[in-house]
């Protein structure tokens, strides 16, 4: 369709269309959700409704009620669910961000060099990425946890390894798409050094795709960490993680569904937040935001 109305036939006035606002608001809503969680985490450092580790077996499996103060109920050990969810937020967040950052940096680094250098380097690095890619992410994480042992910091490593190929691919793709651009060649021809070109021309182009991928990876990281904790391979009880809360609730969840519903809801909402942010950012990045209704 665009070919029928060439560029110069349209004015360059800024004009917000309904869909553009919508696309922006997706990212905004995502951001709000994430900020809400961050707020909860910050608050939880100073104050929690109850001690998340405090077992009060007399009050076990209380349904949610405002009178008892256990707004989301108690679990099978009498511990307050809301407090545990709040505490678990911090741990999950920390693990996800660390894992994404670690995997992201290594992967991006590999991808940039792979794309930039080309040739045999490119081949081998991408081979390695392909091999890593052959493992389903959860399987790889489980396997690494089996090798390293069940400590929280190992979860970070386990999750981050799976991200390396993804980030490498994206970084490499960005580099390759620009590498052969005319102005890069012109820069070389006029004597610019490799690192200069890398920093000034190539890196700015990578930023956006990497940010989008990071947001999406963060959402997956939360899911992976919860899955690992659920399987007993992540955060170990009694420390709360949404995943292990769900795991321990399995025995009682038919009688006390709130023990399963709220932790899972917490997971879903945060993951949704990251997905919305990543999706919204990706839309904004899309050059096909032509203003044709």
């Amino acid at each position: 369709m665009q070919q029928l109305i060439p560029e110069f036939a349209l004015t360059k006035r800024r004009h917000e269309s309904m869909s553009r606002i919508f696309k922006n608001s997706i990212a905004v809503i995502g951001m709000c959700i994430i900020l809400f969680y961050v707020l909860v985490i910050v608050v939880s450092q100073f104050w929690l409704p109850f001690d998340p580790l405090d077992m009060d077996t007399i009050n076990m499996l209380q349904p949610p009620s405002f009178e008892t103060g256990h707004v989301l109920g108690t679990d099978e050990f009498g511990r307050d669910i809301l407090s545990r969810i709040m505490k678990g937020a911090g741990i999950s967040f920390l693990i996800s961000i660390s894992a994404t950052a670690l995997g992201g940096f290594i992967g991006t680094f590999m991808g940039i060099w792979s794309g930039f250098l080309g040739g045999a380097w490119d081949n081998w690095i991408m081979r390695l990425a392909d091999i890593l890619f052959s493992f389903p992410s959860l399987l790889l994480a489980i396997f690494v946890m089996a090798v390293l042992g069940e400590h929280t910091y190992n979860v970070i490593i386990a999750i981050s390894i799976g991200y390396i190929p993804q980030f490498a691919r994206i970084a490499r793709g960005s580099i390759l798409s620009i590498k052969n651009n005319e102005f890069i060649r012109a820069s070389f021809a006029s004597g610019a050094s490799r690192s200069h070109i890398l920093i000034h021309h190539l890196l700015p182009n990578i930023i956006m795709p990497i940010i989008v991928q990071s947001s999406l990876s963060l959402s997956v990281a939360i899911l992976l960490e919860s899955a690992l904790s659920f399987l007993g391979l992540g955060v170990q009880p009694p420390y709360p993680s949404w995943g292990n809360m769900l795991s321990s609730s399995r025995k009682v969840m038919i009688l006390a569904p709130w023990t399963a519903i709220y932790p899972g809801l917490a997971i879903m909402l945060l993951v949704l937040g990251f997905n919305l942010l990543g999706d919204g950012l990706r839309d904004i990045m899309d050059p096909r935001l032509r203003n044709i209704q």
Binding site: P136, S137, L139, F143, L246, A260, M268
Partner: protein, 320 residues
């Protein structure tokens, strides 16, 4: 096409080798794991005894040699012996394979069944509200933790015993209807996320394809809209979806592990978890290898399917 298949098979070899190397070396990293394989988990030994034992078992050879030997055994079907049961690892894995395989395939099938039509409808009907609904539903599906959904299913369906397998598995061959009834919820739990992804990709792909020149040509021929969509647009639109579905099967395989745990299904996923809890390294090694192999094969199939549809991939370009 045959040449293409051959080439793809050839390119699998380095990948499979790489996978085996990673699995072998990672397990080796676990301290004491090598000797444990011979002695079992109950035995403790002093460092001197360990040295001696290493020599006796041939473990003092350089690692690459050990790898080659291991690979050799592998290719003969010997995946080692379980530390717990002492039996060969491979037959036990293979016995549980059908269940996990069925879960994964059924989940994929459901994901395609739900995702593709919804995606097409979303693209063809030009309704902005429908657009937003599809988008949000898609994102929600992506955000749902599989094990949470499974737990919710258990809660919700606790009165309908027939749908919650809980430890039972009736093979398809034995009783197809019961099998499907039991597998439906678990597979759905695994596949919903992928259904959301597929729905969004299908919709975007259709929208893009509908803008293409060859659609305009098809209209200029006077073809009915239904034919334009089904014969011209769909085939082109489904290509990227095939690729996406293919490499997201990894997500399904991972999900199967968790779901088997939730529903206590005796599949490979549950087995690998037990192996990990009990430090049964040969078993862990074997299952990880097999699952990775499955994934690689699925990706191969995906590529072949793609090539079957897209002649540009499988035929050489001839300029006349």
């Amino acid at each position: 096409m045959a040449r293409y298949i051959f080439r793809r098979l050839l390119s699998l070899i380095p990948v499979l080798l790489g996978v085996s190397i990673i699995v072998f070396f990672l397990v080796r990293l676990i301290p004491g794991s090598a000797l444990q394989m011979y002695l079992g988990t109950q035995v403790e030994a002093t460092p001197e005894q360990m040295e001696e034992l290493r020599r006796i078992f041939g473990e003092d050879k350089p690692i690459p040699v050990l790898y080659i030997e291991w690979l050799g055994r592998l290719l003969h079907g010997d995946l080692g012996y379980s530390l717990r049961t002492g039996r060969q690892v491979l037959p036990d894995i293979l016995q549980r394979l059908p269940l996990s395989f069925e879960l994964t395939v059924f989940a994929l099938f459901l994901a395609l069944l739900i995702g593709i039509p919804l995606g097409i409808i979303g693209a063809v009907k030009k309704n902005p509200i429908l657009d937003i609904v599809i988008r949000i539903t898609g994102l929600l599906g992506l955000s749902l933790p599989q094990f949470w959904l499974a737990s919710l299913m258990v809660i919700a369906f606790s009165s309908f015993r027939g749908f919650i397998p809980m430890g039972n598995y009736i093979p398809f061959i034995q009783a197809p209807l019961e099998n499907i009834r039991m597998m439906l919820l678990p597979s759905l739990a695994i596949g919903i996320g992928l259904a959301a992804v597929i729905m969004r990709y299908m919709r975007n792909s259709m929208l893009e394809v509908m803008q293409m020149d060859y659609i305009r040509t098809a209209q200029a021929k006077g073809l009915k809209r239904k034919i334009v969509i089904s014969r011209h647009a769909l085939k082109n639109a489904i290509l990227p979806v095939i690729t996406i579905a293919g490499f997201n099967t990894g997500y399904l395989l991972g999900g199967a592990i968790v779901i088997e745990e939730v529903f206590a299904l005796p599949g490979m996923g549950r087995l690998v978890l037990y192996a990990i809890y009990q430090r049964d390294y040969p078993l862990i090694q074997g299952i990880v290898l097999i699952i990775a192999l499955m994934f690689v094969l699925i990706n191969l199939l995906t590529d072949l399917l793609y090539a079957a549809i897209d002649p540009r991939i499988r035929l050489d370009q001839k300029e006349t």
